[in-house]
Symmetry: none
Subunit: 313 residues, 2 copies
């Protein structure tokens, strides 16, 4: 009723009445003067629009244990394990929320920090879980370029998504993800703005990075940043994973040459002076994750129970 009002407003109202006030959808329908079905639609729209944030406030003992073990085994500063259904290879569910919680924890700090962020599906999902946070005193820097091969904005670059929900000062990288040549990369990196952004990235206090795999469905390849031949070449030199574009082998050694000569991303921030959290799960990424934590490419990890077990086995 009430004329037009914003549709999302009503959705939020309905969601509030449903989740917070514990009303049944029929009661909501009555209060809002719509049919029960419409009330149901409003609630699920609020859901779909990501207005509803649920968090479980309990350290599940088993996950805690795994986290402690992993921290000891791989000398991690930070580790969060999310419960998994026994079979779960299902995308980003779970760790995205956990990552969002951790990002939120950092962005709600009083003292100003520099947070750097990578790319990827998981990270994107995590940022979409974030509530609005007012934190103009913080700085968010993207480690990766935001221009996709076809010149469009890179879809999985998350800095803009983050900026739309958080009031921190944000610095995207006005670069392609992978330059066409080593010399082009040098030229791009010599630009004044890029240099200052790269410099800022080096002052990171905390970083959130996806860990990508380099199999047939490697995101770098699937999203068109590298060709199939380039992928094969990487695999041939033993590359098993990639962080902000930098391919590394099973020992966590950054591959020399090949596409790594042209990766336009900033270097992974120092693990000696800052917290670098990798976020990934799933059996297909296992080798990549293991290499990354074993070699100390990251000193923090958010993953799920199944992956944690595999990393400890």
């Amino acid at each position: 009723m009430a004329g037009n009002g914003n549709r999302l407003d009503d959705a939020a109202r309905a969601a509030w009445l449903y989740y917070i006030a514990g009303n049944t959808q029929e009661e909501i329908a009555a209060k809002l003067g719509v049919s029960r079905q419409s009330a149901q639609r409003l609630v699920s729209q609020a859901m779909a629009a990501g207005l509803v944030k649920v968090r479980i406030d309990h350290p599940i003992a088993e996950c805690l244990r795994l986290a402690t073990d992993l921290k000891a085994r791989y000398d991690l500063q930070f580790c969060d394990i999310v419960p998994s259904g026994l079979d779960s290879d299902s995308t980003t569910i779970g760790i995205a929320e956990a990552a969002a919680t951790e990002i939120e924890r950092w962005l709600t700090r009083e003292d100003p920090i520099v947070l750097t962020i990578g790319t990827g599906r998981t990270l994107k999902a995590a940022v979409e879980c974030l509530p609005r946070i007012d934190c103009p005193h913080h700085t968010v820097v993207s480690l990766t370029g935001n221009i996709s091969p076809d010149g469009a904005a890179a879809y999985y670059n998350v800095v803009f998504t983050l900026a739309s929900v958080v009031t921190a000062k944000t610095f995207p990288m006005p670069l392609p993800v992978i330059a066409s040549s080593a010399s082009e990369r040098k030229m791009l990196h010599d630009q004044k703005i890029v240099r200052s952004t790269l410099a800022m990235a080096e002052r990171a206090d905390v970083s959130f990075l996806g860990i990508g795999e380099l199999g047939e469905s490697a995101p770098l390849y699937v999203d068109g940043y590298i060709t199939h031949d380039e992928l094969l070449a990487l695999q041939k030199t033993g590359a098993v994973g990639e962080i902000v574009g930098w391919a590394f082998d099973a020992d966590g050694e950054i591959i020399q040459g090949l596409t790594n000569e042209r990766v336009a991303s900033a270097a992974i921030p120092s693990r000696d002076t800052s917290l670098v959290i990798g976020i990934a799960k799933g059996s297909v990424k296992r080798a990549a994750i293991r290499a990354a934590v074993a070699a100390g490419l990251v000193n923090g990890l958010i993953t799920d129970e199944a992956t944690a077990r595999a990393l400890l086995a």
Copy 2:
């Protein structure tokens, strides 16, 4: 203890699978190796134990919370808070629409009601938001006179505006707002038509009233119903606000004497037997609104977020 903690662990896990991973309770039961109803019990235990935190990320959510708090704090039957834009002192925007919605809700009822209405800019704006409503079974009564000091129709008397858009039986008060003397008021009120209108007002089911302030820009003064000296006199006795002309102090006590001896309006309808909704916002009206709700001059309130916060502070 141990049993209890373990149980909560499972509850947390079940809640996690349910709310975050979106599993159905049957799936959870399978994964946790318990029966479906046990899974249900775990989830609801997690709920009861407060493990599950839901948050709605939308300004509306805050408004609903404020409304609930205000209802509890001031023992209100009804409260609606509209989000305030950045310029929170800007006239009637927002609450007018909200008031219109509530008026409409009452006028679209099947069973016949008596609705009484006051005056003022906010109420005028509210009525102008109303759609056409066919409701000949309802009765609308003005609580205030509709004759301005210069003999013309009082501009902010809303009964005529309302009548132009709604088919209810409407009863204006063929009176000045403030009589020239106490005896004139008595004489006027003794008229047969006025008496029946006043009697009708006493049978109100719901009332919509503006809350006016009594500072330098008090509507009563600005619109010429009282002189500047009368305004000063009221202020001197501690008057902070006014409803349908009746001035009251910071404790919500109706001022004795002064202009109140000549206010020709009907009394504010009973808050014990009917819903009396005050509609006002803005920092300049804060004291008046606080006094009105605290003393129970009204038992319903429509205001904005900023004012609601101030009332709770």
